[in-house]
Symmetry: C2
Subunit: 297 residues, 2 copies
């Protein structure tokens, strides 16, 4: 096992991702600078950068250039940040607090938040397709397709739509699983696959990593829902207890706390098993799977 702890690696990589985002969003002259300030506010200065961490750790398995991996990590964090900005809007989840700070529409205004989210999505795709991300344009085009697949109407956006329609409805565990796979799972799975795409990994390794990403993503979401029930706003940096209050469809609501926790443990074990054929380089990915079950924020 590598000597660095998971917590140290997460912290180190979060710093790298932060720097990459900062460099990719320079503020221009002119009145449009307000839009860039909102984009930076929504993207910089917070979070464990789990998606970026997955990109960089997976890319590391294949010896991918560090700067290239950091660009792709920054891109997925920008995409994730856009989704949070729009989810927090009054017409959506109406959340005033995000990562312990006012949500973008509270800090700026609704119109600026909508535009900042829009422009963050655009920038996420732009960064992937730019030559600096990979010398092989096939890899860049594959990254764009993979991110779009994860983020679009059959992925994240579709999941958010189902989530809103499901409020106050009684869903089955299968329906909740599908909803959460779309809403959050696909983007986490993409983050792992993106590292494999950058590394031009052979197909069987791409499949194994995708399976790891799928299971880790599902475990992550259950852990998140458990935290919403058990955590405090101070630990979470966002409003706690909102899921139950809004009648959100979660595994915890459907299965109860104990069975949901058992499900997360099962998924975490299964996730790590997909990595059996990878060497020590995958240790942090294994530790991350285990962490999903014990996380407290």
């Amino acid at each position: 096992m590598s000597a660095e702890s998971l917590a140290d690696a997460v912290k180190r990589i979060a710093g790298e991702v932060e720097q990459a985002i900062d460099a990719l969003l320079p503020i221009p002259e002119g009145p449009e600078s307000r839009l860039f300030e909102a984009m930076r506010y929504a993207t910089l200065g917070g979070g464990k950068r789990m998606r970026g961490f997955l990109v960089i750790q997976t890319a590391g398995l294949f010896g991918v250039d560090r700067n290239c991996a950091a660009r792709v990590a920054a891109s997925v964090e920008m995409l994730h940040a856009y989704s949070l900005v729009h989810d927090d809007l009054p017409a959506m989840d109406d959340d005033d607090l995000r990562r312990g700070k006012p949500s973008a529409h509270k800090q700026f205004d609704e119109a600026t938040a909508i535009l900042a989210g829009d422009a963050l999505q655009t920038r996420a795709f732009e960064v992937l397709a730019e030559p600096a991300t990979h010398s092989n344009p096939e890899a860049r085009a594959e990254l764009v397709v993979a991110l779009a697949h994860a983020a679009g109407a059959r992925g994240m956006c579709g999941g958010q739509m189902i989530d809103m329609l499901a409020e106050g409805q009684q869903l089955t565990a299968d329906e909740v699983g599908r909803l959460q796979a779309m809403k959050t799972g696909r983007l986490i799975q993409y983050s792992v696959e993106a590292g494999a795409i950058l590394g031009r990994a052979p197909l069987h390794q791409r499949h194994l990593l995708a399976a790891y990403g799928r299971d880790v993503g599902a475990a992550f979401q259950i852990a998140d829902d458990l935290l919403d029930v058990e955590g405090s706003a101070a630990e979470l940096g966002k409003t706690a207890g909102k899921d139950a209050e809004q009648g959100k469809a979660t595994m915890v609501a459907v299965l109860g706390v104990e069975r949901a926790r058992a499900q997360a443990e099962h998924l975490a074990t299964q996730a790590a098993a997909h990595l059996d054929s990878f060497g020590e380089g995958a240790d942090h990915l294994r530790r991350l799977a285990a962490f999903m079950v014990t996380r407290r924020n």
Copy 2:
């Protein structure tokens, strides 16, 4: 000169683009179908498809495969539709009418409209990067970068930000020109450049076509602003007179009707001049430039 009139060509190509969009947005099983219905509502069944027309006409100069050009035309129309859906939101321009129908947030609801716009943007990039769009991945990556440049914070989104900040302010003609180039001009220019990218056009031809696109885009916006002053809701399919009511920065507001019209005529002539070295294949592009000055809807 080719025998087909501009009006006939626009109608024929609008039909092709409509078909391509329809094929690219099939409705899936499951509750996320509502999101696809909103995406289709916002994108299908309306408009002259000017951006798609520019893609297809320019691609035609280089003998690009018709299906490939139609995909890129559909993509830019999806991007354009997303921007209209978000611009019409209550927090933005608050417009209830679009192409003679209720705006997406009136037909569905605000949350669905936000998500439909988001997912349309995603799909626009996905279509560009998919192998079916071009056999050369370099071309696909270039299209993604070019569209992102036109649509993002330094283009369309930035222009919309400036437009909102400028409401009720007194801008100079230069400032209005920059705002409108960002807000609408860049996407029109991109549409022309996309045809050249698809056709792997040599650099000097790309520059000429980009210059044509820039001038046509600027002429188009002035013509649009003139229509807002002089047109009726029935002709426009949207609420007339909103610009003045909202204190929007337009060339008409800054220069007055007569000087704005003269400016549009100058731009249209200049646009056509960039096409001098192109043959009869560019006739519809020349006619389109002239039409900018006479358009009534």
